[in-house]
Symmetry: C2
Subunit: 254 residues, 2 copies
């Protein structure tokens, strides 16, 4: 059973300011909840679940942290179009201070789409990229839609919301690569050991001021007719090329 104040509280966690105040975030669905329960970095605050889920998991979770609810109650608190058995409130992960030297980091300038950010966090986690630096006007990484799209990777990849120019100024010894439509062909570049890759806003790309201070512009060359690539796809291809592929310079096929 849920009381009104609980419903209201969970609904407020759709807003960043409420998540920030309590240092928590929402995750949903058996698969994602299972994964987060195994992550020491994101302690469970409380779970709200249908009876079937509670029955098959009660041995693993302290009962005072689980509230059994009805389908209609779940529908009221869920942020999903199709509510999925269980919703959890978790503490945000705590990480040591960022140290991007000798590593690869992603830098996101005004990324707006929660699905894109979640997918990028998941890509970073796949390739072992520890850090994502977001401009302060980017979508919040603990937005419920971002958490879902990340498939739990928000618990393992460290994000920082800050002024990108100021961040780059503090790390001038690390090469910066800005993803644009008319830069150097990434497939002719060498594999790299460190760097910061800037990915821009979904429709406007990287902001003018930031472009000006980006030393190196890079591009995924086009062979067909699409006007652009999705931001998450660009991040995936560039990261894979820089981290996993790219040996000596090679020329493009005709």
């Amino acid at each position: 059973m849920l009381v009104k104040s609980q419903i209201k509280y969970i609904q407020t966690l759709g807003d960043k300011k409420h998540r920030d105040k309590d240092g928590v975030f929402i995750a949903e669905g058996p698969k994602l909840i299972k994964e987060l329960l195994e992550e020491k970095n994101v302690p469970l605050v409380s779970l709200f679940a249908l009876s079937d889920w509670v029955e098959s998991h009660h041995s693993k979770i302290p009962s005072k942290q689980v509230t059994e609810i009805s389908e209609s109650e779940l529908a009221r608190i869920s942020f999903l179009t199709t509510p999925n058995e269980v919703l959890g409130i978790f503490r945000k992960p705590v990480f040591a201070e960022m140290n991007p030297k000798g590593k690869f980091s992603l830098v996101l300038d005004n990324l707006q789409d929660p699905g894109n950010l979640g997918t990028i966090v998941r890509i970073a986690d796949w390739f072992g990229t520890e850090y994502i630096i977001c401009s302060e006007d980017s979508v919040d990484v603990f937005n419920p839609k971002v958490v879902q799209a990340s498939m739990g990777s928000v618990s393992r990849v460290q994000t920082l919301y800050t002024s990108i120019p100021a961040f780059l100024a503090r790390h001038q010894d690390i090469p910066v690569y800005a993803s644009v439509l008319d830069g150097e062909n990434i497939f002719t570049m060498n594999r790299l050991n460190e760097g910061m890759i800037i990915i821009g806003n979904e429709s406007r790309g990287i902001g003018k001021e930031l472009l000006k201070i980006s030393r190196h512009k890079i591009t995924i060359p086009k062979r067909g007719r699409a006007e652009s690539l999705n931001a998450a796809i660009a991040a995936g291809i560039i990261l894979s090329q820089f981290l996993m592929s790219g040996s000596s310079p090679r020329s493009l096929p005709e």
Copy 2:
């Protein structure tokens, strides 16, 4: 002004069977509509737009194909969460018969997410990959959400819904690469001139029967902890590696 029968008709185009019957599909928003109006391959059937849009475009479109509507009317016919000025009905593109010999094609086994399929169509269009073969249980490429995510690329990339095993059997001279979690490292493979890349369902991967007949299994190696990569991200990375990168065999960094 919209009459009731028009509203009802447009709403039915959310269903594949109605789209198939009339050979049409829906697209929305000024940017996408502008792009499709320039594509000879997808003739316009009719447009429904707010007065501002009509005013700034009336010289370019025969007036009998445009209906000026109110915001509340647009909200009733729109498939978007946030309706966006204009909705168009277009004829599906007509393509010549597929001839995958000497080319790269994507093969999608039971892909379900419209956003993923649309993004994959856009990637294919970016890299000049002409063909996408979908299993009959995959999401329809003319689903309004797929069309939106493709950013208009559905007008340029040819899709075929068919039995994948039967399709592969008809093209035994073309190498097949199945994307799995434990195959050959794609970053040690050569750039390829032809092939069919199979991408599986978002949660279950490639079906058992299809896996059995796939001669070559390939993998994007993992360096971090995410359990999997999004299907569209996998398609983008594999396509970029096979088409644009990948020269002589190289080893992975430690």
